[in-house]
Amino acid sequence: MTPKLAGPVVRSWRALPRPARIVLARVALIPPQLFGVLLVTFVLVRLLPGDPALLLLGNMATPEAVASLRQKLGLDQGVAVQFVRYLGRILHGDLGTSIFTSHPVVQDLIERAPATLELITYAMILTIVIGVGLAILAVIGRGGVADHLTRLYGMAAGALPDFWVGLLMIYFLFHIAGWAPAPFGRIDTYLTPPPTITGFYTLDSLLTGNWSDFTSSAGRLVLPVATITIVNAGGVMKMTQTAFAGIYDSPFIRHARACGLPQCRIVAMSLKNSLPPIITTAGFLFGFLLGAAVLVETIFAWGGLGQYAVQAVINSDYPALQGFVMLAAVFVLLVYLVVDVLYELVDPRIRI
């Protein structure tokens, strides 16, 4: 940037409202991050032992067939050229064809994404509400029963394997008690899923006024969401507790208490001021839940992205696996973008 240009640019930048500056500055970081993600997924598949062309054609392929496929895939060229061609394909929305389903990977991912997003969204909301709620209880009732119980829970939750908790829930709540609906899929098999509006069965069935679809899909969500929440709320609780206790003991809250404000107002004030670290925790949580979804979807035959990824691993379906890893990373990038923007919006001390 030439000095002549810098003045007006800086001035017009300063003229923008603060939220716009926050969003623009953060969005500018996306292209290099995206490039990094694509580089990693490219390297991932290059790590494959053996010749990809041979892998696709099988051991019985003739040398000519292998050579022609190598040429078609661009394997006879340098790694840099291959990477550029790979970038070009991705920019055209081509993630290859799944070996297992023989559909384009993009189509497979788009079909399955709503199932996973619905699961993760509800699990995330519940995890944050319970985690933050327990943290507040623990800090307010310090030294009391709530404090000890939450500490025990925090310790135990960190040691629980989510796939095992899911299986226990199926055994006790479905098999023994019979309270929970069957752990097979998102909706009862005799029902037709609601037409796709948002892709969330619960929302779509409400929007179309289909009550039986709603109760069925909401019921099917209970066990997987509870599994994810039980395992992850402990971590959220521990992180919130540190942040919330710091604010709760700070001089300005002591002043508020001395002024005679009621307890609920004081808790609300402390919570508002400990929001930035909670928002960051929520961002981390999303990445965690994508991993948890892989395991939990397998157990509950959810039919989302996680189960697709497991099938890809079992069948050595590398295009599908590559597509899933890329989508997961892009999701996480977007969530971090939202988290960073929110973080800066709620903390007026950050200058931009």
């Binding site: 991050q33 990094g36 993600v37 580089l39 990693v40 991932l44 598949v45 790590l47 494959l48 032992p49 310790m155 135990a156 960190g158 040691a159 629980l160 394997p161 989510d162 796939f163 095992w164 299986l167 226990l168 199926i170 055994y171 479905f174 098999h175 752990p183 990445g287 965690f288 994508l290 991993g291 948890a292 892989v294 395991l295 397998t298 157990i299 990824a309 497991v310 890809a312 691993v313 079992i314 050595s316 590398y318 696996l321 590559q322 899933f324 890893v325 997961a328 990373a329 996480v332 990038l333 971090y336």
Partner: protein, 280 residues
Amino acid sequence: MTFRFWLRRPAATLGAALLLLQVIAIVFAGMLAPYSPTMADPLHSLEPPSWQHPLGTDVSGMDVLSRIIFATRINLLVSITAVAAAFLIGVPVGLLIGFYRTIASTLVMRLFDFIQSFPVFVLGMALVSVLGQEIWNVALVLAILFVPVFARLVRAEVLSLRERPFISAARCSGAGDISVMFRHILPNAMTPALVQLSISIGMAILLTAGLSFIGAGVRMPTPEWGLMVSSGAQQLILGVWWVSLFPGIAIVLAVLCFALLGDQLRIFLDPTKRAPGKAR
């Protein structure tokens, strides 16, 4: 180390007891296990817990207790090896990129950012699947995933330590880069990484078990906790609970053990948290 010493520290006692239990299981697996961990016995398939088979048998008639005992070897050795390797690589790397602030150190940090921007389990699953589903590949992948964790912790410490007066003092008395790094900075920068060491082993145990559970890791009939839970998952809704329940308990206890030990290590290594007047 009297009886009272342990009684006053229930968390440390539980952690140490669990660790001892696992060491015993690893060393004396052959003597403790009543049956072979890999020998199928189709005549005694899916037997509930009894005197012959204290924790029951799985679908191919293998004794669950014997498999849990033998699996301790695989689960713990893989997790500990992976985390130890990550520690041995991550700590020096963190020291170097914290001490020398060049373009290369920035690039290494960006690389760590990228690795950590992927969900851990998703990247682990993809890497194991691509490298080949072998137990040592699981260890390798876990090591790769944990190197940034240790490097970051050490780097953060080094960045604050290198500006402190005692480093200038060491410089004035003629210490070179190597001496400053290893004699003056490293010993003071280790605490967070040491505490993380124990916690990471617990996380590695959970990841290893999760990977085997979805089929990206060891294969049957290798005794491995996650794989054992998965092998019982099909029969669970038929009322066969013992095949999945017991290996899961083993996972929980093992992870809990390293979490408790990490907590104790944090208290032990932090002089401000020790009770006053109780010098050790």
